[in-house]
């Protein structure tokens, strides 16, 4: 069937299973937008291209499809860049279609021109500049395959304006590839045997679960594996929902901002098994210290992650689910010491908060109550900063992929557009966007997107009138020399809520928390719940 390339682009997006595209129109995507109404795709206009990428990423995770965004050339692309980099660092599939100036103008510094493939190369899994209409269809289909296969990531397809207007022959997807670009790694038998022997020898083994568990859908296998061997499980930020938070073996997040239980187990462990983690500096603050002390076992789908940050004594390359299944079949060969897991678990299960505040809201108390009052399927998104760490430590996640957060790149402004994307994918689920007052002011324009898309988001705003995480850092590292962290001129968030026609309520002390949460959850539609937090609240452990 003959059609314009613009129409073919939309056809391929639809054919790949996505129903929603996020974007912002411009001159170089005009032919695509012209055909959007007939495409069967729903277009969500975000208020900044960055928001389009974040929303698409969250939509992809929540729907198990590949998120798609469409933006125009030049500033559209550079605005998008942060969103792409965020997806790259957290290994999330994303296909971004970017308009480009006409082929004849490429390289002439024409209006809204930027070297899209050049600026996106360091933060994409792959990118393309379409130079003739013949390559359009195979490239688009390949882009989807690359984005979701192996270690997922963002792929950019840059399409010049003149090519969008050309006629192409649309043929159905025959699943062809120019050559096999999919990973073909087989599980190494010898390493598998060594891994089982090492676990058998371990007196204090610890699993650290990363985001790879969610990407391969291996939560169940991980739970069975840990249970069968009685190995406690700590997680990275991206791996937080790998194991149910109420499981006796779950120790919570490890690392710089981790829980006491997880970090104590970490510093005592003689064998650490990383599964689906790239062992970032936030998870393991001192690579040399760890490798000098414990046997390192590393399971990951990306061969380049093995020995990148820390030398692995034993490594297995492949899909987490597949490897855990093979391990489960041979679990009888290993016996792990029981008392170790018990010792780790005892520390993690006590409720944190007896202390109550009368002049502000205690974040941990609020989050513990919120997790009690919400269902297991509730989707949580966060921004970046103190509130993100509080969520990681004090909200109990029950099911995999119920947390959408910016782990690797730490992108403020992620949470609100992510909530919109997630809600569009799962309209029946409650979606709660947990926001800091710094991050929220980066994401605030997307309130309009939220309203326009008809997405009902519960927004919880932690306000302490400062950039708390940086402030905390200045307390610890710069003798409390607070510079540039005071949010100073401060909007009335009740007025902001009113401006967007969103019900609003403020909670000013712990005794109001329960009723406040109830009001938010029972209110149909979106809601803005502001929590007044004392600026002296920190993310450092207060569990003692």
């Amino acid at each position: 069937m003959e059609m314009t390339a613009a129409e073919a682009i939309l056809r391929v997006i639809k054919e790949q299973g996505t129903d929603v595209v996020f974007g912002y129109p411009g001159a170089t995507t005009a032919p695509i937008y012209d055909r959007l109404p007939q495409s069967g795709l729903r277009h969500i206009l975000t208020r900044n291209e960055q928001g389009a990428a974040h929303a698409a990423v969250a939509y992809g995770i929540a729907s198990d499809k590949v998120g798609v965004c469409i933006v125009t050339s030049g500033p559209g692309v550079t605005n998008l860049l942060t969103g792409i980099a965020n997806a790259y660092m957290d290994s999330v599939p994303l296909v971004a279609i970017t308009g480009q100036v006409a082929c004849s103008q490429v390289g002439t510094d024409s209006f809204q021109e930027v070297d899209t493939t050049g600026v996106t190369t360091p933060v994409t899994k792959h990118n393309y500049l379409i130079k003739n209409k013949e390559e359009l269809l195979p490239v688009l289909r390949e882009a989807f395959i690359i984005a979701k296969s192996g270690r997922p990531g963002p792929v950019v397809v840059d399409v010049p304006l003149d090519i969008q207007k050309e006629l192409v022959e649309f043929t159905p997807d025959a699943g062809e590839m120019r050559r096999n670009i999919l990973p073909t790694q087989k599980i190494d038998k010898r390493s598998l045997n060594r891994l089982l022997r090492a676990l058998g020898r371990a007196k204090k083994p610890l699993i650290i679960a990363g985001g790879g568990i969610m990407k391969s859908g291996a939560s169940e296998e991980l739970t069975r594996f840990a249970q069968a061997l009685g190995i406690p499980v700590a997680s990275t930020m991206m791996g937080l929902t790998a194991l149910s938070g109420t499981h006796p073996l779950c120790l919570g997040m490890v690392g710089r901002h981790g829980t006491d239980a997880a970090n104590q187990a970490y510093y005592e462990a003689d064998t650490v098994l990383f599964i689906g983690s790239r062992i970032s500096d936030r998870t393991v603050p001192d690579w040399d210290e760890l490798s000098g002390r414990a046997t390192i076992i590393h399971i990951d789908i990306d061969p380049a992650e093995i020995n990148k940050n820390i030398p692995a004594d034993i490594s297995l390359i492949g899909d987490c689910k597949e490897i855990l299944s093979v391990l489960l079949a041979r679990i009888g060969e290993v016996h792990c010491p029981e008392d170790w897991a018990k010792k780790c678990a005892d520390k993690s299960k006590k409720k944190a908060f007896s202390k109550r505040s009368t002049h502000s809201v205690t974040p941990a108390f609020f989050l513990e109550l919120l997790s009690e009052k919400t269902s297991d399927d509730t989707l949580i998104t966060t921004e970046v900063g103190q509130h993100q760490i509080w969520v990681a430590k004090h909200y109990t996640f029950q099911k995999p992929n119920t947390l959408l957060t910016s782990g690797g790149f730490g992108t403020m402004g992620f949470g609100l557009p992510a909530a919109i994307g997630a809600k569009l994918a799962r309209p029946a689920q409650t979606v709660i966007a947990l926001e800091g007052d710094g991050s929220f002011q980066m994401a605030m324009p997307e309130l309009a997107t939220m309203k326009q898309a008809g997405t009902e988001i519960k927004i919880v705003l932690f306000t302490n009138r400062s950039l708390g995480m940086v402030r905390e850092y200045q307390t610890l590292m710069y003798q409390s020399n607070y510079v540039g962290v005071d949010l100073g001129v401060y909007p009335r968030f009740d007025k902001i809520a009113e401006a967007y026609d969103i019900p609003y309520r403020a909670i000013r002390c712990d005794s109001e928390v329960s009723a406040g949460i109830d009001a938010m959850l029972s209110c149909p539609g979106s809601f803005l719940l502001e929590l007044v937090i004392d600026e002296s609240e920190t993310t450092v452990s207060q569990e003692e």
Binding site: T117, P122, K125, K131, I146, D302, P311
Partner: protein, 161 residues
């Protein structure tokens, strides 16, 4: 630190060289030289990369390169089974009275004089990096006016069948 030679077969597509260069820069890899040329298959280019670094660095260079979608295959070459060559063009100051002496040295090194004028010659020299270094050092005594060197290209020796 040791030098390591890597061979990468890549798709002959626009932008692949930029992607490789971007990778080296971003990951802080020290690259001594990078030579690219098309192979017998016009759709495939062969690149030879000389990396300066320890074993862990070379492992990372190989793995990170392999992750690039347009890279087909990467191999670290073992020095004992590898033949490698560089090409250089050297313009040396050369008056009539020095000509015989320079020609003699050129002969010894099996280099070639490819251009000549009243005050200079251009010498073409092929060989290993070391051989070119040695030749360059001698030519300094006459005065090197200009010099241009390609990166190394390399290949594994075939075994007898």
């Amino acid at each position: 630190m040791a030098k390591h030679i890597l061979n990468a077969l890549v798709e002959n597509r626009a932008g692949i060289l930029a992607k490789m260069a971007s990778l080296f820069a971003r990951r802080g890899f020290n690259i001594d030289s990078l030579a690219v040329g098309v192979t017998q298959n016009p759709e495939v280019s062969a690149t030879t990369i000389v990396v300066d670094g320890d074993a862990q660095t070379v492992e990372q260079v190989e793995k990170q390169l392999s992750k690039l979608i347009d890279v087909i295959k990467v191999k670290t070459l073992a020095p004992e089974t590898t033949v490698s060559r560089e090409l250089s063009l050297i313009k040396v100051s050369c008056t009539a009275e020095k000509r015989a002496e320079i020609m003699q040295i050129v002969d010894i090194f099996r280099a070639k004089i490819i251009d000549i004028c009243d005050h200079a010659v251009i010498i073409e020299m092929t060989g290993t990096g070391q051989k070119i270094d040695a030749f360059e050092e001698i030519m300094h005594t006459f005065g090197i006016l200009e010099m241009s060197r390609t990166g190394m290209i390399a290949m594994t020796r075939s075994k007898a069948e």
